[in-house]
Every structure is written in structure tokens, then in C-alpha cells.
Amino acid sequence: MTAAELIEKHGFHPIVLPDPERETEGCYIGDLLSWVMGKACAGNVWITIMSNVNTVAVASLSDVSLVLLAEGVTLEQSVAETALARGVNVASTDLPAFEAATAIAGDL
């Protein structure tokens, strides 16, 4: 399923979607950035509550398909612009990380 389809199906709020057709595959949940870089796989949906500009850098370098901000966390405008420029898809949801992950588990 593509990032855009996943967002649409589950009613997540798209923040920036520079690469809507990116295929999503698997999921990683975490807020410590080095853990994400060490453990997340390319194509994963990354669920986190960490939303500073380093999040965008880590998402880009780790090549995840979508950053899903849980618990209603949003991005500052300047960070959203950076994500757009670097081709990083970002969406948010009011769900906690566990509920978000279980919601999308069957689609990945």
C-alpha cells in the first residue's frame, strides 16, 4: 500500500507528502533517533512523537516511507518545509503509537 493510500484509509492527517506513491513496508516505533537509524528498515512506516528537524534528517537517511506522528503531535512550519524539500512524507494521528501500529498492521 502506498503512503497516500495508508493515510487516506486510516484518516491520518497528511502534513507533507512529497512522495505519495512510496510503498510502505513494515513499521518501526521509537523516539530515540539512533535506535531508529540502527533498527528501522528502508520502506518502514516510522511511528514517533519526536518532531524536531533531526527527525526529518533521520527519516531521510533511514529511507523510511512515512513518518507517522502519534498522540496528535504536529510539525513546526519550518520543519515541515524541510521535510518537503528532502522528500520525507509526514502525517499525524491523534492515536497513541500502539493503536496506530495495530490499525495499520494488516496493511503493511
Binding site: D31, L32, L33, A42, V58, L61, D63
Partner: protein
Amino acid sequence: MSEFLNFHYDVDGDNFVSAGQASVQVKKNLRQLGLPTEVIRRVSIAMYEGEINMVIHANGGTADVDVYEDRIVIRLADKGPGIKDVALAMQEGFSTANENVRSLGFGAGMGLPNMKRYTDDMQIDTVVDVGTTITMTIRLA
């Protein structure tokens, strides 16, 4: 084998929030060279971890990426405090980062282990109160 490309970057020690610019630039450059996605991912993550370390601990430094036909060599050099106990620093979870750094999502003690994980060879040359140079090699199949 002859070197065919070098990318050099100065890593700004005061610029923690936007740290990673050199790694992002390397990712772009390697992509333009048409290298495999997984190689680019490994190089850019290893370099980003090193870059973050230089910003957190050493007030910046320099990063060089040499691209050869059969390998990529990343050399990170700083004039920081050095690493007192390399074996301890290599342990997952060991960190001397402060609370501010941790609040940004770093300081989990995974930086050096990740650099080792994503590269085929890693050498740490460090002298306390003089500085640290880390050389990482990723072989190209």
C-alpha cells in the same frame, strides 16, 4: 586503486539543531553517482552518527568521503576531548551526552555502535585532550 572522488565538509560545532547537512549532501552526491540504495543508506547513517557526535562532544570538525571503485571511505576528524575508554564508548547504551542532547532524541549510546554496524571496517584513533579521527570503510560489491 585510484581515488576518483572526494567530498569534504566542515561540520559546524554550534549548529546542533541543523546538524546532518553534510550527511544529507553526501546522500545526494552518492545518489547522483548511481550507487545502490542500501550502500547510500549505510554511508549516510554512519556519517550522520559521526557528525552528530562531533557536534555533541567536539565542537565540530571535518568530514571527508572518498569514493573509490571498490569502496567508500569516510574520515571524521575533530580536535575534541578524545575518548577516554573506547571499549566503553562502543557499548550500546553508554553515553556521556547531556540532558539537552537527550531531549532532542540523541544520546542513547547507539552512535558508535551504529557506525560500526553499518560499515565493514571502523578504526578509531583518539588521544585525550587532542582529538579523535574515525575512519570507516564500506566495500562496494
